[in-house]
Assembly symmetry: C3
Homo-oligomer: 477 residues x 3
């Protein structure tokens, strides 16, 4: 180990070749201090609404970060020992983990993160936000814990204060479609209504054969005061909630379907499937057809109300059935599958792809679709923007591959700019910073290869970091 204090090299994540690096540094400098536009993420709205202090280093940095938990689990740690809470005593695992023990496990596992983006994000946070000067390790864990805890305890470390410190101009949360948006109402009352925005996520209401579907419907009915007993009521309630979200500042919807199609059904067929689903008699084929139909309906409503439609298919959720049974869903065990966009989106894009009132942003966790399907689609349909590489792909080399794979067909203007897609709030500045560095490196290479002039690269870098994400989520013309 090095004896020198742990510092951050100013050129980290920029290209190694000196000539290209020099260009990259100049380009990066043009974006470094720009505000953060965070239009897709998973920070709980309550953190901002309630503005309470964070509890401890484990609770802040380890437990809510899937990337950390899954890497430590992959080398044998039980996720309950990393602070993930089981569903109940029946799950047969201890209910609570000592935060200092969780932190020690993380610090001892620090070498596991070599070569991962977590390494970059965490070292940025630890050094820049928490003033740490030693690498995490078993030996330094306790001292680091105390040091981080002291920063957390500072009243200036409350969520709302961090919005300023992190230069976050706007941030979106993700909210279930049946949300009463109370948190956002409270933020609006406190003057933060245009800075923290809700996002309408109706997945659970569109999967009519999923176990929780009925419960979701009940919540939807309650929050809207609408009878969802039939298909018309269901559509009406969805429309009501979209309007409520829009009034609360929402700029987008979010659709995480497994995405097998967007073919609309005749209304009477949709109504019949809906009725069957209400009776609990729907078949898998009917549920799939209905999901495709509803994605088309969501696009139609977006063309009406101007909410930007985010689509990200292609993940098999809760892969480890034992983890799902003991800890519930969304524990970092979602695994990508090969995804098809060209045929699946043809009905939706033929109907709305040139509609000036409509915009959709397509995300993927299957990078083979970047050059094959997504760039060709984004490069011809005016309604389509290509979302940032995210989830497993928001990493230095993956983000570079994204630009290399899509730019030659879709250019820059058809991409949406970076989204951080995270619930690890303190990592947000580091995530945007890393994306800016990688984009600077890519642009610098184009300049070094005389495929772009420097003035163009500088302007494009600001587009990618700031202007494009604002533009992608603003109301279509």
């Amino acid at each position: 180990m090095t004896a020198a204090p742990w510092t951050l090299h100013p050129d980290r994540a920029l290209p190694g070749d000196p000539g290209t690096r020099s260009l990259a540094r100049e380009i990066y400098t043009a974006t470094r201090e720009l505000p953060v536009v965070a239009m897709h993420g998973h920070v709980p709205v309550e953190w901002f609404a309630e503005d309470r202090p964070f509890a401890d280093p484990a609770d802040l940095l380890v437990v809510p970060d899937h990337y950390l938990v899954r890497m430590l689990a992959s080398q044998g740690a039980g996720i309950q020992d990393l602070g993930v809470r089981p569903l109940g005593p029946g799950a047969g695992v201890a209910a609570e983990a000592d935060p200092r023990e969780v932190w020690r496990r993380f610090c001892a596992g620090w070498p596991l993160f070599r070569g991962t983006p977590t390494r970059f994000w965490l070292e940025t946070e630890l050094v820049e936000v928490f003033g740490v000067t030693e690498r995490p390790s078993a030996a330094t864990a306790d001292a680091l814990y105390d040091q981080v805890q002291a920063v957390i305890d500072d009243p200036a470390f409350r969520p709302r204060a961090l919005l300023d410190r992190f230069r976050i101009e706007v941030i979106s949360t993700t909210d279930p479609a049946w949300s009463d948006l109370d948190g956002h109402t409270r933020l609006a009352a406190d003057g933060l209504g245009r800075r923290v925005l809700p996002t309408f996520r109706p997945d659970a209401l569109l999967a009519v054969d999923a176990p929780g579907w009925s419960d979701g419907l009940d919540l939807l009915a309650e929050v809207t005061g609408t009878d969802v007993g039939d298909y018309a009521g269901y559509l009406s309630a969805l429309r009501t909630q979209r309007g409520r979200f829009r009034a609360a500042g929402a700029r987008a919807t979010d659709h995480g379907l497994r995405g097998t199609g967007t073919t609309p059904l005749p209304d009477e067929d949709a109504a019949r499937i809906y009725a069957a689903a209400r009776r609990g008699e729907v078949t898998a084929a009917q549920a799939e057809a209905f999901a495709g139909h509803m994605l088309f309906q969501m696009a139609a409503m977006s063309a009406e109300d101007g909410l930007v439609m985010q689509i990200h298919p292609g993940v098999l959720r809760d892969h480890d059935l034992g983890i799902a049974a003991a800890f519930g869903p969304d524990r970092g065990y979602d695994i990508p599958v090969a995804t098809e966009y060209t045929r699946a989106l043809q009905p939706l894009l033929s109907a709305f792809g040139r509609d000036p009132r409509f915009r959709t942003i397509l995300f993927t966790v299957d990078e083979t679709t970047f050059s094959r399907e997504l760039a060709p689609l984004a490069g011809v349909y005016p309604a389509v923007r290509l979302g940032a590489p995210w989830w497993f792909l928001d990493a230095p080399d993956a983000m570079r591959r994204f630009r290399e794979a899509v730019t030659e067909t879709a250019g820059f203007a058809n991409t949406s700019g970076f989204v951080d897609d995270t619930r690890a709030f303190v990592s947000i500045p580091a995530r945007h910073d890393l994306a800016r560095r990688i984009d600077a490196g890519y642009l610098a290479r184009l300049v070094a290869e005389h495929r772009l002039d420097l003035d163009e690269a500088l302007e494009t870098a600001v587009d990618l970091a700031y202007r494009l994400p604002l533009r992608a989520y603003e109301e279509p013309a």
Copy 2:
């Protein structure tokens, strides 16, 4: 914007690292002045046969270039405003666009092409061919229009004269299988019969459930004087036309099928499906089986007559149904899909893959198949050559990825060399030049990493630029 005049850097598209660049420059210099061998393209034969002047800058550079049109459309331009003509007044769009207006839209959209190959090709053309010294923009559009128009109006700018100026040794057109080849006959009469070659494209005759199939058959019957009422007559007429193409100098056939198989049917089954199709009673499954059967038959005929069989599956054509209805097919709305070669080609390659009379060139728009399927196939079957990266993949980074993905398994000798695949005639020298630069950069990296000696790289560069495309399309032994 830079105030200095717009010039082309001699090292553009070469690697940025100084040591590798220096090697790349030396390698590129060995190929720079070589003749252009353009064995696959879409320039209309009439341009050469009639040798008329081009009309205007929009008609020459914008309207026929899908890459330009689709990028401008992706940011909201209507394609009718870019000079694409609708099918008729019923389509509900204006029939004609003013060419100067089209040109202005293109110039104003110039920043959209940053990072795309269009940027490289167009700047090469504008600077080298048209002497332009300012970047296209709204402000410079009119001056550029006039300057380009003046060059176009020069009698030295006729298509045949450009063949010399562009150092085009040989160029292939693409012609429907029912063509009477009148254009090529006229070229032969004028001594250009070995310089401009037809290519036999029978797709429309092999898709027995496509709307235009019967019309195509009628044309085939007429041009051959053959009764195509039954399967035997159909095969005979195809054979007749292949012979006519061959006599007119054709070196290849071109098969753009969606490519789901190459399994031959028993003759009686094929005849029965053909008869059903003639009655308009064919099923989709029958049509698919027949298409696979006919691809096998085309290979068998190639083994007989020596025409090289080009295969390029994997595109969903006319994705935007509204565009197809208003403007017809082939408007730049074709989107790739995931493609399978290994199983699909097994029957064809088991039958002809080692036949010394047969050669096939495999293209793709799904780059995941480069290392997984195409390089392993080309690296073992003597009849297989791996076609150049094209369509969405004829771009700097994509061409580099192609070499990186296939060379380690298939080497260089099993690749076909660059094809430009374009109808944008004036872009042909720039397209070949870009490919030579990228190949030089790739070879230079191998030399810099001591994986190849410089003398080998120099010889290989000439192979890729000149010898291999000639060899790939010459008659098999």
Copy 3:
């Protein structure tokens, strides 16, 4: 051609950029002299058991190396002329090729290997092992043949002596599940029982609709003295042989299935399918279900006996039916197909993925799965290690892409380290050397980009070259 003697540049296959190269050289130096751990390969056990001299240059270097044979075949050589022996006189090809003629064909074809890993491996072997100072060519073929033959004839060139010379600490062979392991018994008697290990490969016994299935069962019954007439006996015999392999030092099983699933069947269903298969009445669907079931059973047995389970699906074997008919299987005509892991492995990993007694190593020849499926799986399941890029992917650029695609999600510790997967014994040191160079180059780039510190890179390099392959194949906790 260069007149200077043929030598190996010390920096070959390291990055070209001088700064990164300097780092790479330092990192590579830390691994260069480490022992070779070769836990997956295809060198016949007889070579070590009998320790006989090799016959001639063709027999040693050309005939057993698929990469050489397939490249020469791809440019028109008949494989019988490359020394591959046909199945019998009925095959209609000459039975024997003169080794000097085979060698001449290889030397004349030397330029074909430009840009391939074969080029690197062979030049390393020829220069370092055989002292060759001229490039292979038609002109030098005979002299090289004599020079290589002289080295082969040296008694110090026996297989066991080469184990020392090549610094091979441990090497695994691949053995059919019905093997009596006589070769390994003999090696154990000679004190090499912990240095040359068997690997249990049961593929042929699990494919109940394959032609040779019954013959394999007979051999299994004979070697175990077990009645395999019913499913219980079959399972019992497999268990017996696993125990015998384990006792003989085996650390792993190897599963090359086409891999369509791992869903266990109820015992009675499995028994019924087994019985049907014994009667020769099994359907393709039953055989597929049974294969998935048995992969699950193999995992269950691995959890019991600690043998590490290697899985490598995704290849269509014996693609050229004519070659298979004349020369038999495994002639270099296996072609990859797109492969799915996420859904296929869910049953197996939900059952054993967190079982501390179980470990599986996943290989692929479909590199699209690296970032999409394999890294996410290896990055969360403690039982999963991600195998090295191999077969068509054990090449400089492909190995680099592997690290770039998987490290950001799975880190280094979830990968297995390099395996050479070869029957070309003399190439083993060169193969491991190339992998170490590529990993050094990748790590050097991370250091140059300040994404990793040099001390971490040095430690990681030793992990990848030596510690991880040992650890991946040791008995699970």
